[in-house]
């Protein structure tokens, strides 16, 4: 990220210490974001970080696995070192926040980083805590970029269970949905991550994913082919949730399977557990051009992610919980996508389930996806 004149905004919440001087967390290269005041502070961030790391894991850095655990010389000296290391990290934050020299914004940023670092799992938070973390993230973004976003922590509403139906005889493979999804959900532009896949399948061969093409580029609909889309199916019995070792993903009361991006450790167990290839991993730092960022965000939805965490379709939680259709539903020019509340007996999704011949993928697995396919 040290390229000058870079037009991208790179999300950089937890790795600011690794930055080389010359650029900062906000992506600006010229002054004005106040995250660097190296000469004024007793220790600048880089030195401080190095010192802290050295003190805590100085020796271990050069060892691996088994050795780290068993070959630890715990002399009086190193024991003290380890003790002070954790104190030092704390003191660093206190230092910045109490220093007379550091600017108010630097203090506030340190305070936010500290609280964000040690916050709990979103799943276990009460409403005040949820609001607090969302406010911190909004403020943090403001401090780093000077731009204001709106982020919601809206909870699931009672008597709502979201469901989705996809008409495979209507889909023409235009991929307007994919476009809308990428823009709505602030997906990484450089790796071209996409939540939705549209598969082009041969007529008469059924759902044959081995022969299907999900990255075609020719005039559509192509003769002798039909199209069907896959994305996260928001299973009612989601296998991805069961395998998560840190409970960073769970099923909300309105049926949405969501991820706390700040709690995810990026082990990708869920990716392996999903029978539908619904989950995506951030291999690189997600990059979204500053002017294309969707500023209407939800903590569990389209807020900017970081490198090394899982993400996926959330049925556009930032939209659906406010009553809007997900971006893919709104973008589809053929009306192949139906979305609604499964618990409302008068909803259109219920009419589809009750009156059309619907089916789901891999029903025999018992995952109970809330994503049905149907034909005219």
């Amino acid at each position: 990220m040290s390229d000058t004149n870079k037009k991208w905004f790179s999300l950089n919440l937890n790795s600011k210490h690794k930055q080389t001087s010359g650029s900062c967390g906000c992506g600006k290269t010229s002054g004005g974001c106040n995250s660097h005041k190296p000469k004024n502070e007793e220790l600048n961030e880089q030195e401080f970080f190095d010192a802290a790391v050295d003190a805590s894991i100085g020796e271990e850095r050069r060892k691996d696995g088994f050795d780290q655990v068993f070959d630890v010389k715990m002399s009086r000296r190193s024991a003290f070192k380890k003790l002070t290391a954790s104190l030092l990290i704390g003191a660093g934050a206190v230092n910045t926040s109490c220093s007379f020299i550091a600017g108010d914004e630097t203090k506030e940023k340190a305070q936010i980083d500290w609280e964000e670092q040690f916050k709990g799992n979103y799943k276990l938070m009460n409403n005040d805590e949820k609001k607090a973390t969302v406010d911190r993230l909004v403020r943090s973004y403001q401090l780093r970029t000077g731009k204001t976003i709106s982020m919601s922590s809206q909870n699931a509403e009672e008597d709502v269970l979201f469901g989705y139906a996809f008409n495979i005889s209507k889909c023409q493979g235009y991929m307007d949905c994919v476009n809308a999804c990428v823009e709505e959900n602030n997906q990484d532009r450089s790796s071209q991550m996409q939540y939705i896949r549209i598969h082009e399948m041969k007529d008469g061969k059924g759902f044959n994913f081995n022969e299907a093409d999900d990255n075609y580029y020719h005039e559509v609909p192509a003769e002798g082919h039909f199209y069907m889309g896959t994305q996260c199916f928001h299973c009612d019995n989601p296998p991805c949730v069961d395998v998560c070792p840190v409970q960073a993903t769970w099923r909300e009361d309105d049926g949405l399977v969501v991820i706390d991006y700040d709690w995810c450790v990026g082990c990708r167990y869920c990716m392996a557990a999903c029978p539908y290839d619904g989950r995506r991993f951030n291999w690189s730092k997600p990059e979204v051009p500053e002017n294309e960022i969707n500023k209407n965000q939800h903590y569990l939805g389209n807020r900017l992610r970081k490198k090394g965490v899982m993400e996926k379709c959330t049925f556009c939680v930032q939209r659906s919980r406010k009553g809007k259709n997900p971006a893919c539903v709104e973008a589809c020019p053929t009306g192949a996508r139906i979305f609604g509340n499964l618990l409302d007996p008068n909803s259109t999704i219920r009419w589809v389930l009750e009156n059309k011949k619907v089916f789901r993928l891999k029903e025999d697995l018992g995952t109970e996806p809330k994503f049905w396919y149907f034909m005219d």
Binding site: V220, P333, I338
Partner: protein, 209 residues
């Protein structure tokens, strides 16, 4: 000996009762399938606070009831630039087609069924151009043009009324507002044309090489 036997039976009995109790306890929350769950949990559905009203208040809508379902569709007449039609169509067509008068509708080419089945007056009312007309000659308002389409496309009409064909306007919540036929289909050339996909993933190509 019989005493210990008695105790064993006793313990077994208690265990049985405990087992029954514990397995019955969760019966109210667990379902065999998602459809069972939906059915059970929607039995006492009393509506929700999420509403579509804020998303549809900027459009003028008409309430229709089709196949026993009541919903809103956008008004059509206000969308038609040259409505009302009788502003021009007050004279016979021969006069309007004379070369001295500015041309209108010159770009409309009917590409809907074949000429045996349809021409202009299959839908337009020659006697009163402000209205459409059904196959039996009754007047149909321009706002309710779906009644015209439903004469032939009954299957699509049934799906549309139910919500399986066509699109909802912005919101999934009630009150339901759906697009009507002519919001997506051009009535003079109703089928969609083929086009290129909106997106091509060059990164995926690289990864799969």
């Amino acid at each position: 000996m019989p005493m210990s036997k008695y105790i064993t039976y006793n313990i077994l009995g208690v265990l049985c009762i405990l087992f029954c109790l514990s397995s019955c306890k969760n019966h109210g929350e667990e379902y065999h399938s998602i459809t069972d769950k939906i059915e059970a949990e929607s039995r006492d559905y009393h509506g929700i606070s999420t509403s579509s009203e804020s998303y549809i208040e900027h459009i003028n809508t008409v309430e229709v009831t089709e196949n026993g379902l009541t919903f809103l569709i956008p008004e059509r007449k206000e969308e038609i630039e040259s409505y009302s039609c009788t502003e021009c169509h007050s004279k016979p067509l021969d006069e309007l087609q004379s070369k001295t008068i500015k041309k209108a509708h010159w770009n409309i080419k009917l590409s809907h069924a074949n000429q045996l089945t349809m021409n202009c007056v299959t839908c337009h009312n020659g006697d009163n151009m402000d209205y459409l007309q059904s196959l039996t000659g009754s007047q149909i308002d321009f706002d309710l043009s779906h009644q015209l389409c439903s004469q032939c496309h009954q299957k699509q009409f049934k799906d549309w009324a139910g919500g399986a064909h066509g699109k909802r306007i912005e919101s999934w919540a009630s009150p339901r507002a759906s697009m009507t036929c002519v919001n997506c289909h051009n009535p003079h050339a109703p089928s969609f044309e083929s086009k290129w996909p909106e997106r091509y993933n060059t990164q995926k190509i690289n990864e799969r090489k």
